[in-house]
Symmetry: C2
Subunit: 455 residues, 2 copies
């Protein structure tokens, strides 16, 4: 197989030495690793197709990978398989300002896409926490969310089309530049979020929006998580859908302050990052209403960014949460449960009680406006007994989430990390449908086998 790969690619497009393979053996997920037989770096769709055809002939499994920032083990190699890494396919191919679209190769960094849009007065709204390093292909494979999701939605809402290499090596285009299209099943919607198990996304066609004229960033702190949660509920009840409503708990506030030194009040029990964007007049009005609502919920402090530099600084409080928490203990397990908005405060309380019950340190932050929490276990994978407690706690949190009408993953995906919990999420006749679709589109189980579910 490797000899045949060498015939397809230049030597610098293939890694096979153990020492070179190690960095491609894990992603952003704690406690998961595996060794591939080779890592390949195709530079064109045709090269991807040739590799897949070869793998199809040889029955060699392929795991597609971007920057490896995944948080559910979706890009962990498969034993005796190859890793197909798309980071060299990173060109922005077109910005079509008439149709407000952008076409890019799958390995393009998400931040580069929004930067290119910004240069035309446009915006690519989905902004996952990892956007400075994650690739758009990875975002599409996981249907990534982000901090602007409350108002703008997630990656799915901006994918108009994609080029995919199918498990047999055929190349197909799904979707087009039409803002409306109901011809046939929406294959692109099936492939978005399929975590590399149905096809390899090689190019994406994205929808852009006019860049909002104005933006206002507000940082509010509270003595009580309840007050922060009520602020979010009251904002929605006031018929305001701001672009961002992000939350940090006290542990996270303290870690972030220690890490980023932005002057956060470390005595606060909760922090809300609120952003409004849109036409200047509307933003001003919305921001004032949100401040009044925070105040009526006993905000401890309210800080409004005076300019865009300060806004970026305030947003840093939220954006650096994961990095800041990761410094505390050897192992950081970032969870991703999501509940209907109305169940959020109760879910935060439940997670706190679970941490206490099992004697664990669980920091909590997340997209409060979306009901998407990131309870973060600060632990040590070498302490087997503690990890057992972590697993018990996690199981309890998942059970609670599902019972609350929520989901085990709001934006990180199932991958390997959550595949054991997927049957609980799909506890009716829908679970076999997932397997049927995989069997029908990838009958030989060549693409990312063993992720999401077993067959």
């Amino acid at each position: 197989m490797i000899a045949q790969l060498r015939a397809l690619l230049r030597p610098d497009q293939i890694l096979t030495e153990t020492v070179d393979l190690i960095p491609y053996g894990f992603d952003g997920t704690a406690m998961l690793k595996e060794k591939a037989n080779a890592v390949v770096f195709p530079e064109t769709t045709e090269e991807v197709a040739a590799i897949v055809k070869l793998a199809h002939k040889e029955k060699t499994p392929i795991v597609t990978r971007g920057s490896g920032t995944g948080l559910s083990g979706g890009s962990i190699p498969v034993k005796n398989g190859i890793v197909l890494c798309l980071v060299k396919m990173n060109r922005i191919l077109e910005i079509d300002t008439k149709n407000l679209t952008l076409t890019a190769e799958a390995g393009t960094i998400t931040q580069a896409i929004d930067d290119a849009a910004a240069a035309e007065g446009l915006i690519y709204p989905p902004d996952p926490g990892s956007m400075k390093i994650s690739t758009i292909g990875g975002n599409v494979a996981n249907n990534s969310g982000g901090l602007r999701g409350l108002k703008y939605g997630v990656t799915r809402n901006y994918v108009m089309g994609m080029e995919v290499v199918l498990p047999n090596g055929d190349i197909a285009w799904l979707g087009n530049k039409c803002v409306k299209d109901v011809a046939g099943y929406s294959l692109k919607d099936l492939f978005i979020g399929s975590e590399g198990t149905l096809g390899i996304v090689t190019k994406v066609l994205l929808r852009l929006l006019p860049r909002p004229e104005a933006r206002k960033t507000i940082l509010a702190t509270f003595n009580d998580i309840e007050d922060a949660a009520q602020t979010v509920s009251d904002i929605i009840a006031a018929k305001i859908i701001p672009c961002t409503l992000e939350f940090l708990d006290q542990t996270t506030i303290r870690c972030v302050e220690d890490f980023a030194k932005i002057g956060l009040p470390t005595e606060a029990k909760a922090l809300l990052l609120m952003e409004s964007d849109g036409p200047a007049s509307a933003v001003e009005e919305e921001a004032q209403k949100m401040q009044a609502i925070a105040q009526s919920n006993r905000a401890l402090s309210l800080r409004v960014a005076a300019n865009s530099e300060e806004a970026v600084q305030l947003a840093t409080a939220r954006r650096s949460a994961f990095s800041a928490l990761a410094r505390i203990r050897p192992t950081t397990i970032l969870e991703d449960v999501t509940v209907p908005r109305s169940k959020l405060a109760a879910t935060v309380r439940f997670i706190e009680s679970v941490a206490q019950k099992h004697g664990l340190k669980i920091a909590n932050f997340g997209h409060m406006g979306d009901g998407n929490l990131h309870p973060t276990f600060l632990t040590n994978e070498r302490d087997g007994e503690e990890i057992e407690r972590v697993e018990k706690a996690m199981h309890e949190i998942f059970e609670y989430t599902i019972a609350a009408g929520g989901t085990i993953t709001g934006e990180h995906g199932v991958g390997l990390a959550k595949k054991g919990h997927l049957p609980d999420q799909f506890a009716d006749a829908s679970y076999p449908l997932l397997q049927s679709i995989k069997r029908s589109l990838d009958p030989e189980q060549l693409l990312n086998p063993g992720k999401l579910f077993d067959l």
Copy 2:
């Protein structure tokens, strides 16, 4: 089969007499009809499941139907099959103002859903032309668009979940009230727009939005279609995404005026209905910019609705287009091609040239902001020679659309009417994927067989 159906349902829930079956033998599509063996009217999901289990046992095909307003023959009966009509499942089950969701049975009229949302200060944005009579289940099955699609998107963007009865009679829930959920493939997105071929949608869980504070409706007329198209392009280029940008050509203007008497200038070659909604201050600003852009493109007349009654009256010009045109000749064939916005003016010109070439009357109107045109053939199905010319013309329009990167159907679906053209739309390795999915989820081909494609 019918005797067994009678054992499951009350007598008034089954029609079997030829005279009773006739109205269920066609939908809103010209020239298509077929007779079913029976029409059944289940009132609960359990009844639907029981009927499907019976049909599964007896290998009897089922065609699901709402109000029968479809425009691609998707709900035309299948020979020796039964029609499962959901209009008696029409209850709104819940409005959850905390999570901004609404749950309704599939047979609920779409207008009733928006009315219920409005009573809570909320809006269900998708507003298909047929919304006063079409059912939400039909909207989901076809992923219906509407007049507010430019800003708000289509039905898919508002479906958070659904209850479906699968081809074997099992009941499954797809989706939930979480605004973010990436657990497993997005089955709901596969079922949206699948035209009743994969499962029977019995309940829908919809996302609502805060109802916009203000709305401004403007009607502009032009001497030239080009000027109307340029107005649309200039509005988008000015980074304005209004809620509505709808277009009528001269034939349609004249028919509408004759039908609805709203004082339209019948000498105009094109009419644009423009609507802005949102916060009052932003709407005022946006409406003024749109008027200025229309003026700079030589608008013949500009009429701004002074109040909501006048706004409704102006919108009537667009909403009554199909009904008005349907009075002209015996047969009205409403087409639904969609192109990238930038190709719109050229496509309108091409359709005019095709009409001239084949000596046909084709009125044109549609969602100009979405690139979604409804070229409407005014013809007579009893005139075989003319119908041949209609088919030639239609084929040329589809070919042109596909070459322009467009789609043969923007919002009406494939059904029977366009199934012959679907392979041209999916001209690569993607077409067999559609068939694989159908085969894997409905192996016995019981649900709406022969629609979209043959197997």
